[in-house]
Amino acid sequence: MAIPQLTIEQVQAVIPSASDIQEIDRGGQKIVFSGIIDGRKYAFKFMAPNPSQVGGQNSEFLDDVTSRAQREVETMEQCSTPHLVRMGPIGLNTTDIAGDPTIYFSEEFVEGENLRSFLQSNGVFSVSELVRLAFEMSEAIKAIWQFSKIHRDIKPGNIMRRRDNGVFVLLDMGLVFDLQDESLSVCPVGTPLYFSPEQMDFNNRRTIMNFRSDLFSLGTVMYEMATGKHPFIKGARTTWEVLGNIANATPRSPKELRPELSEKLSDIIMRLLAKRPALRYRSIELFQRALREVESEGGVQ
């Protein structure tokens, strides 16, 4: 499906209250601009729906792009935690731009650095940063799971650290999966490097996917932020091989790669990476309790 081909002038025409509009990102299905409304900076996301997918524009069923946008907006509206990106002043809208149907909405613009950039430039997190990241992302996962939803795309590129206060914020709820919504597609989506084993299990996912899948992805991120290495890339030359490793390989413990980490923190990360959901944490509260224990002990050997 095509990304909308938009100019700054076209965006200005659609959102006349915005100023200083700039293109900031162009992804697989969307184009993102930044702009200022009432003195605050926001991100504007534009997507092209795919009416042919469900039998034309007048179909009562929604195409995947529109469904995901709806879920993204709905999730931002439902969840109130400082660790999830918030809705902006413009809700979900549709418009025609140069004859093409386009959907758009706004969300807060998080000033800061995403973890992917951090990894590329600085290496690894300190223990206290790791624990803070884990705790705050678990708050985000909990907030989403409160509505029986899972994020499905937790990865360094979707986690921002705010420049002003260091708070971690989880972005991009576009792939949020609602376990209550029987109409939604269960095709594998997300970023394969951060998939959980059950995210690849096409036949069984609806029954076993829950917040513990997001915990696995968080475990992959924590492993990377602790060691500077992805737990499942070693020896893999293709995405399929990485997926095979996610399903079957046990990575070396973070402590082996970074000896000053405490056994407890290393064990927590490895537990998040357990192949079976039952071997991770059955509640966010148990996970957070384990983190507090690490915190109280300093997290280093």
Binding site: E198, N204, T207, I208, N210, R276, A278, L279, R282, L286
Partner: protein, 402 residues
């Protein structure tokens, strides 16, 4: 961990005596085997006389899906009497809601804080992948939801009645664990349906090792409380796996669960009297097995150390007449409780597993020594069951990475 009394027909004063002796921590009541008014009165009385006792009420709803069960007094309980004779088609969502509501309401309203937990109704299943297991999961989900809305209820245990054959397939065990570790409950009350009603101490080694792993994932990993009913000598191995409480009773059908408990009985003679020996991890016949050990001057090596030993100390055959059912039961609880205390005193799971291995090794050595003194045992006494247990423990250690 502590031992609970698995109650059934012929309760008498055994529970009070066991509580007074400190060999049990409480009991699991059986509505099949007692008049409703008596059962309710007993639970109320224990709330006064033994306020720290750990009392549970197993609703035994699973009997409702058995074919013409011999269900005794269960029909006096409305949650069962209104719903017995259930086939596969009687478990729609609405009906399950009704069963759950009736069963949990009865416990909540009748027993209040005199029971430690409310127990969810369930049905028996043979495979983790059959439709009955799905019904069981649906009942569990419904129970957790209903319990959530109650006003100040006792904590909820999800009950599961599983055939030992279900543990043949590890993939299915893991899938089921993934599903049940989503439950918002205090824990689980689990009964394993044995294939044979005969006196086989040990389940097959691989399935039992997987069941130990099943309990380990629920308790040690996920911090649920797990109570395993009808567990008998398996209790010390389950303790090593992390189980919170195990239960066993006085008759064979209260030590191992099989469907024979709910089927017509053809009568039969009284079972031969047995002695519960902690060192042998088994119950040798008082006569001739224990008597032969006595004649070989090895009796002190197999005694468990309870006060009741004095009855047989000077000759088991001579003391047999005084070895009553009640004493036999109390001595059995004493033996299992001693094992439990020994393991629970150890600080780590690794140490408990090591201790369990040591207990089995010592028992096997003792059987060998007795054999060299021409003491022979009925296969039902041992020691083959210990070899099965050792294999089970190996299986468990491999699965749990311990």
């Amino acid at each position: 961990m502590s031992i609970l009394a698995q109650c059934g027909y012929g309760r008498g004063e055994k529970i009070e005596q066991g509580l007074n002796d400190g060999v049990i921590h409480g009991g699991i009541m059986s509505p099949r085997d007692e008049r409703k008014d008596r059962l309710e009165q007993a639970i109320q009385d224990w709330g006064v006389s033994h306020p720290n006792a750990f009392v549970m009420f197993d609703p035994q709803f699973y009997a409702a899906s058995l074919n013409n069960p011999r269900d005794g007094h269960l029909n006096e309980f409305d949650y069962y009497g209104n719903n017995s004779g259930l086939g596969r088609t009687h478990f729609s969502g609405t009906r399950i809601q009704g069963y759950v509501r009736e069963c949990i309401d009865y416990q909540h309203q009748t027993f209040g804080s005199n029971v430690a937990y409310l127990i969810s109704p369930t049905i028996l299943f043979d495979s983790f992948r059959d439709s009955w297991s799905q019904i069981s999961l649906n009942m569990a989900v419904e129970s957790a939801d209903y319990h959530f809305g109650l006003d100040s209820p006792q904590p909820l245990l999800i009950s599961l009645v599983i055939s030992e054959t279900a543990f043949q397939t590890m993939d299915a065990v893991e899938e089921f664990l993934d599903a049940i570790t989503e439950f918002d409950a205090q824990g689980f009350y689990i009964i394993i349906r044995r294939n044979s009603a005969s006196l086989q101490h040990a389940m097959e080694s691989a399935p039992f090792g997987r069941f130990m792993y099943f309990c380990h994932v629920l308790t040690t990993i996920n911090e649920y409380e797990v109570i395993v009913g009808y567990s008998d000598w398996h209790s010390f191995l389950l303790e090593a796996a992390g189980v919170t409480y195990t239960a066993t009773g006085w008759y064979q059908n209260l030590r191992q669960f099989s469907l024979a408990r709910f089927q017509p009985t053809s009568g039969g003679r009284r079972p031969l009297k047995r002695y519960s020996s902690t060192p042998l991890l088994s119950c040798p016949l008082i006569n001739p097995e224990l008597q032969d050990i006595h004649l070989a001057n090895l009796l002190p090596r197999v005694l468990s150390g309870s006060n009741h030993d004095s009855i047989i100390q000077n000759g088991p055959a001579a003391g047999e007449a005084n070895w009553t059912d009640e004493i036999s039961c109390l001595a059995h609880w004493y033996s299992l409780n001693a094992l439990s205390q020994r393991l629970s005193a150890l600080p780590t799971q690794a140490a408990r597993i090591q201790e369990a291995e040591l207990l089995m090794q010592n028992a096997l050595t003792l059987y060998t020594q007795l054999g060299s003194q021409n003491v022979y045992f009925d296969p039902m006494t041992g020691p083959d069951h210990i070899r099965e247990w050792r294999d089970s423990l190996q299986e468990f250690r491999a699965l749990a990475g311990l």
